[in-house]
Amino acid sequence: MKETEISKHTISVLVENESGVLARVIGLFSGRGYNIESLTVAEVDAVHHKSRITVVTSGTPMVIEQIKAQLSRLVPVHKVSDLTLSGPCVERELALVKVIATGEKRVESLRIADIFKARAVDATNNSFVYEIIGSTEKIDAFIKLMEPLGLSEISRTGVAAISRGTLTM
């Protein structure tokens, strides 16, 4: 890979679930001028108080290496894993997409939702809320198609990711 080529990386960070830990991670990115394209965080181990933060970021190989090194040296960080480099991984996002429309547009949105295996989780006479799960690209494509059909609001979770096979963090 060229030194100047910018690539996208999905990085998982296992952290101590304590107050301020997310602020530390976000502050590191903003303070050092790194990108955050997506950020997801939730507790994954209630017994040992561990949370998992998944960050999608982009940069040159040197910048990505810096990001990982900087994350690793935060005191409450247990482990940093670059899922993009460590082998194949599954990346999923969930989005709730509100479409307000009637008539043909409404029907068309249902058809597209069917193709994308999105579920209608709320419906009124002139609106749907679709729930769609998939890769970022799939959700982007779905949203693009909904745009002319009355798309009015979107809520996305950001990427959750895990490596394929027996490899664990």
């Binding site: 101590e16 602020a23 290496e65 090194a69 900087q70 935060l74 005191v75 247990h78």
Partner: protein
Amino acid sequence: MAERIMNGSEVVLQALADQGVEVVFGYPGGAVLPLYDEIFKQNRIRHVLVRHEQAAVHAAEGYARSTGKVGVVLVTSGPGATNAVTGLTDALMDSIPIICLTGQVPTHLIGNDAFQEADTTGITRPCTKHNYLVKTPEKLARTLHEAFHVASSGRPGPVVIDLPKDILVGKAPYLEPAQVQHRTYNPVVKGDRADIERAMALLATAKKPILYCGGGVINSGAQACKLLTEFSRMTGVPVTLTLMGLGAYPASDKQYLGMLGMHGTYEANMAMHDCDVMIAIGARFDDRVTGNLDFFSPGSQKIQIDIDPSSINKNVPVDIGIIGDVGHVLEDMTKVWKAKQYKINAKALDGWWKEIDLWREKRCLSYKQPKDVIKPQHVIRRMHALTRDRKTYITTDVGQHQMWAAQHFGFEHPHEWMTSGGLGTMGYGMPAAMGVQIAHPDATVICFTGDASVMMNIQECATLKQYHLPVKTVILNNRYMGMVRQWQQLLHGSRYSESYSESLPDFVKLADAFGFTGLTCKDPADLDAVLQQMLDIDGPVILDVAVDDKENCFPMIPSGKPHNEMLLGDETNEDQAIDSDEGMVLV
């Protein structure tokens, strides 16, 4: 072991005592009154009252840097904490172990915009290595011990512990340090053996090697500095030191090239530029060291040793990165070098030294001392000569005088040089000298400062007086913010915007007002006598030396230029400007 229950303030003091703390630099206030009450009732830990919280941190930095121990600060909530921010940032940039205890409003008031409330953990998050807000009494002792571990291990740094007043007043269990283990933070100190072997194999092939060493060697300790000296003598490799690394290698040694970087020596920078194998030891390729990265040491293979993985490959890509404590790695390097019976290419090394000797012949630090006006460099040189037989510690403020002190005072041992390197904090020198003097009551402690810098923490004269700290403050007074003036001359068409020191106080009267001695010197013929007079006075002294106000600090690598395009003093006449728009936007 049964838990001992005490009140929160007792827990804090017990933890400090168990961590070996002897002195705390601080300033009281509402939120920390319970702690001050506890301090009043005991005599194990000495409290030094400063006159501004920024100075408390700098004093603790001076204490820490001159002893290798953790420096401890105690300030109140709100303004106490925010005033400490500059010092904390300074300690973070220079990797100095500091524990800063900050008072906080009681837990039930947090978030209510209470009197003297500030979001201390929020404000200090980016300027500390780590910080804590203690919300429950059960966590108090554990947090204190953890904080000492975090501050002093790995790459050292400042740690803030925010202590709400109700936690200090309420009952809390005490844990001994041995009962606390950190769950996540345990930095690697041993370097990877295979990497070290590769590094030594590479060094054995070198024709023009150099050791580029920084503050990491000093942080690693006196033993690491000794190992560095042994390693360089064993291999015959030249050594250059960063501003932070001065003292890690004896300045009088023939293998020493002087400091490198923006105001480093010609030979050090040329050798960095032309070397073929560079070993960076506890140094972080700071922009003041590298100059223009595009032209930085273009022909060399680079090996970097650092305890902080994020320092490796940050600014300059290296061929071999070794993560570990400098002392441990140097020990292993020496073992590998001997075990494999490596020999440096003697013929090539000889040629390399001949090249270096040619650069040395430039005598880039030379100056002429005229009869009518004192050259600032001369003050540093004379002070060095007059203090050779004393145990001497030097602190500085920031600017020209700092660079002259770095260039002209030969440091032979680690921990004797305290300066604000990374952050460049004016106002560092006097409080840092207080901390050094507290740690070494019988030593000679000299603060080289400028007429502008000294004004930034001048209130600490009262602390010097109160504790009879015989700090010798030498003002190289050129009536300018000298480094600002120099840049304005070289980069901004000699437009000296706001850099003239108008309305300076009479420093002799000022010293007198604080209750100690003030001296002046104008005539070069008097200099030695006045310096000696100052050294002989048993108490604090401020010496105001009127120096040549046109003197610039050379050599200099202008911003944006490579190492081999240094400006040397003698070829730079009055009106030589650097014609560089690129340089002007850089810092």
